[in-house]
């Protein structure tokens, strides 16, 4: 009995975490038109339905573009900021570090509203670009923190050796620092991709005609429950899981 209790707790905890996702995925294969028990599948009709819906596939593509693009920009900027702050003695370095990380503590709603006001004052129209800018703003602190934390004396010595052997600053960064920090950079990249991929508030506030998937899902939700939503949700989940698995395989396996 004493031994069963911890296992029971473990199972309960996992059920609590994964039951909603499991139910979502299960009823995406529903045969009927309502995602509620009893289950009468499996059927792929809802997947066929959403994949032939141009609005949805456009939103899916938009989301991928924004996720990959904003993650790449956030990583590049975060890397350069980390390199500067780790390698050079700069006036006000502690303050700069603080200012770079501070946006992590600001809610997405505030970031989105602030950007919206700035963009409208500047007269820039809302588009995928503006949503991408919003995602760079929220992911940059994370990329900076991850990459900065992994910059150590080992790279610094290798960089010094490369300079001694005739490398210029760009060659040092491209051939030595970035490859040596590849695990941290990839981790930051995939994390940013997943965060941008299912981000709703900023994408909702900063897009207009071209919208990302979470915004599209939100607009579909207003017309009531349907297994279509389950199928989209499952696809979103699949992409996120793929990103995490890639991270695991590319980054953490290599280190072991």
């Amino acid at each position: 009995m004493m031994r069963a209790a911890p296992w029971l707790y473990l199972v309960a905890a996992f059920v609590f975490i994964y039951l909603p996702v499991g139910a979502l995925v299960l009823f995406s294969f529903q045969g009927g038109s309502l995602p509620v028990p009893p289950f009468d599948g499996p059927s792929l009709q809802w997947y066929g339905d959403i994949l032939s819906d141009d609005d949805l596939t456009d939103a899916l593509r938009n989301s991928l573009i924004v996720a990959v693009g904003s993650a790449a920009v956030a990583c590049a900027l975060g890397f350069l900021a980390a390199y500067a702050l780790a390698r050079f003695v700069l006036p006000g370095a502690a303050l700069m570090r603080g200012l770079l990380i501070a946006p992590l503590t600001v809610s997405y709603l505030i970031v989105g509203l602030g950007l919206l006001m700035v963009l409208q004052r500047l007269g820039l129209g809302l588009s995928l670009w503006t949503a991408g800018i919003g995602h760079v703003v929220i992911n940059l602190p994370l990329c900076f923190a991850i990459i900065y934390a992994s910059m150590g004396a080992q790279q610094q010595n290798a960089e010094r050796a490369a300079r001694d052997l005739g490398a210029n600053e760009a060659q040092v960064i491209l051939l030595i620092t970035a490859p040596m920090l590849a695990p941290a950079i990839l981790a930051a990249f995939f994390l940013s991709v997943t965060l941008s991929w299912d981000e709703f508030i900023i994408a909702f506030l900063l897009t207009r005609f071209d919208i990302t998937l979470p915004v599209e899902i939100w607009s579909m939700l207003r017309s009531g429950l349907s297994p279509r939503l389950n199928a989209i949700g499952s696809l979103v989940f699949l992409v996120s899981v793929t990103a995490v698995l890639l991270l695991e395989i590319l980054v953490f396996r290599k280190r072991a």
Binding site: A161, L165, G166, Q171
Partner: protein, 347 residues
């Protein structure tokens, strides 16, 4: 490739701390120099000045007659072999060794061939495709050497290159470094705190302390006839016998020695343990009581208390044939040429 180096009037401050004081040194082309001293003596700072990683507050550095004081490391005809080797972990050994050539714009095929030649020089040509993490400490050290030499520097700077190796490997790498230096003819400047290592490889030892050069010369001269008390003590174990100089004669507890070189006043007489023998002749130390003795293979190291100076303890190296017992009494004397005299240090 090889070139002479001239350091002239180098002073350097880190904030208020003076790390280097009036360093002037001429190094001949193809010479193997070691900078020897305790940690914090400025030897690594001086190496950084040579390599271009530190720009000295005052003074100039000339390599091959050209003033390089303000040149960056990349533009100097020097390369450095760093203490932790600083190999590039994401590159194969071949790419590590070829890196400097690649930066110099050499074509792929040519630089790869040259990298393999350099790896062959250090006996690692079979491992060219491996990554540094697959190597032992001694092998990494060889790769670092090959990488630094691949660009044919005029001067190779070595920062405690053998510090991370175990004693046996260190002794064999010393011989190898020396023989590679003979083959390539490059000027080597090697920083170490190990005086045995310095004696084993250097053409000339530069003893440093507190940012100054205490002595510079061939190992035998620096060991047998050091310029300062510090150099004498740092080069090996030594007995210090206090004395007073008057009328060109040094008076000690063991009698007088003619000594025309020194000024009057308190002096310290230095005597290496191996300069002391059992028997008569030379400078007699009289009778001494053995405190303890230990067998070291090539000699027996004993602590003795001279009867003439009961509060003194001398270290003596005796022949390994017989080991004296504690409380044995020995008649001891010292060679005159094993004796050096310095002004006493102010306490």
């Amino acid at each position: 490739m090889t070139a002479p180096v001239r350091l002239d009037g180098i002073n350097h401050w880190f904030g208020d701390f003076q790390a280097l004081t009036d360093i002037s040194l001429d190094i001949a082309a193809g010479e193997y120099i070691t900078l020897l001293g305790p940690s914090g003596c400025g030897k690594t700072t001086l190496l950084s000045v040579l390599g271009g990683f530190v720009e000295p507050s005052q003074g100039t550095v000339h390599i091959a007659g050209q003033d390089v004081t303000r040149l960056s490391p990349a533009k100097r005809p020097t390369t450095t072999m760093f203490q932790d080797y600083a190999l590039f972990p994401h590159m194969s050994l071949r790419d590590n060794v070829a890196f400097g050539l690649r930066m110099g714009g050499m074509g792929r095929a040519k630089r790869h061939a040259r990298a393999l030649d350099m790896l062959a020089l250090v006996g690692l040509e079979k491992d060219a495709a491996k990554r540094p993490h697959a190597l032992s400490g001694g092998q990494r050290q060889r790769v670092a050497l090959a990488r630094a030499l691949a660009v044919e520097p005029d001067v190779l700077l070595l920062d405690e290159p053998l510090g991370a190796l175990d004693l046996k490997l260190r002794r064999s790498m010393q011989d190898e470094l020396k023989s590679i230096q003979r083959q390539v003819g490059t000027t080597f400047v090697h920083v170490t705190h190990d005086q045995e290592e310095a004696m084993a490889i250097a053409d000339r030892i530069v003893v440093m302390n507190a940012g100054r050069i205490e002595d510079a010369g061939p190992p035998a001269r620096v060991y047998r006839d050091p310029a300062t008390l510090f150099a004498a003590a740092f080069m090996g174990e030594m007995n210090r016998i206090p004395g007073i100089n008057e009328n060109e004669t040094t008076r000690t507890a063991f009698g007088k020695i003619h000594n025309p070189r020194m000024s009057e006043g308190k002096v310290t007489l230095c005597l290496r343990p191996e300069a002391i023998h059992i028997g008569k002749g030379g400078f007699s130390l009289g009778r001494a009581t053995v405190q303890d003795a230990a067998f070291f293979g090539t000699h027996v190291r004993a602590h003795v208390t001279p009867v003439a100076a009961p509060d003194m303890r001398l270290v003596v190296h005796l022949p390994p044939g017989s080991i004296p017992e504690p409380d044995d009494v020995l008649d001891l004397c010292a060679d005159h040429d094993g004796l050096t005299v310095f002004p006493a240090e102010e306490a």
